[in-house]
Symmetry: C2
Amino acid sequence: MTTIPQAPTASSDQAMWSRVLTLHAHVERQLTQTLQRKHGIGLSEYRALECLAQAADGELRMQDLADKVGLGQSSVTRLVARLNTAGFTFRDLCPDDKRGVYAVITDEGRQRYAAARGTYGDVLSAALNAAGAVPELTRTVQALRSGG
Amino acid sequence: MTTIPQAPTASSDQAMWSRVLTLHAHVERQLTQTLQRKHGIGLSEYRALECLAQAADGELRMQDLADKVGLGQSSVTRLVARLNTAGFTFRDLCPDDKRGVYAVITDEGRQRYAAARGTYGDVLSAALNAAGAVPELTRTVQALRSGG
DNA sequence: CAGAAGATTGCATGAACATGTATCTTGTTG
DNA sequence: CAACAAGATACATGTTCATGCAATCTTCTG
C-alpha cells in the first residue's frame, strides 16, 4: 500500500497539532521532573548547557543562545544568570563589540551536562515509548521516529 | 528507494525531539501572539474553550479539563477563574459529589471561540508551512502531516 | 449493621519562579 | 548626531509546588 499524496487541510492540521501538543506536554513533563529530581536542573538550563557544550569554544552570544533554546532574549539573560550562580557558566565580554556578551560554559557546567545527558536520553526514549503505546499517539510517534 | 525499518536509538530520538521542540516553539509563538492580538485570549484559554465547546452540555469537571489541556490541576483552577471573569464560563457545583465542580461554557464563550477558531486554523497552517520551508524541519512537518 | 478513624479525592490558595513585552542603557555605525 | 543593535531590567502574567480544606470512600470495631 502506497501513500496517497494529500493536501493538508486546516482541519487535519489542527487534529495533527493537537496530538503533537499532547505528546509534547507528556514528554516535557517527564523530562522536567526527572532532570530536576536527579540533577537539580530545569529543562531550559539543560538545553542551554547542551548548546554551549556543543558550541565552538563552549561559548555563544546571548541572542544566539536565545534562538537555539527557543526563548526570548530577556529570558536568556536570566537563564544565564541562573547558570552563572550555579557555577555552570560565566559571562565574557565580546572584545570587538562591547555591547556583546558571551555565555561561556565552565568545566563544572560540562560535567553537569555530561551527567544529565544520559538521563535525558533515557527518559526521552522511555516517554516516547510510553506515548507510542497510547492509541491516539501511536502513529504520531511512529511518523516522527521514521521520518521526522 | 524504500524505507528501511530501524530501531529508534536514544541518539536519534534526541535529534528528532530537538526538531519537534523547534517546531513547537515557532508554531506556539505564532498562535499565542495572533490569538492575543486579534481576539484578546491566550492559548490556554482558547484550548479550554475548545474543550468545553465540544464537551457534552458544554461542561467538564475541572480535573478532566486539566487532562485535556495538558495543565496541572491548580493551573486550571486559575485558568477557569480567568474565563469566569471574562464571562466565557461559569462554575457549577456537581450535585452528586459536592467536592466536584463543573466549568460550563457560556454563549459568550462559544461566540469568542467561534470567532477565534478560524484564526487559529489559519495561523496554524501558515506556521506549519513556514516551518516546512526551513530545511531542518521540512521532513518533520511532512512526516506529521502525512501520518502523524 | 452502625459508626468512627483514617485514607483518598477534588479543588482552592499562597509562595516561588519562569517567561514575555515594553522600555532603558550602552555601544556602534553611517 | 541620528539610527540602530545587544543586553539588562521593570512589570505583568501564567505555571508549578506545597499545602489546606471539605467531601467521600474504606476499613475496622463493637
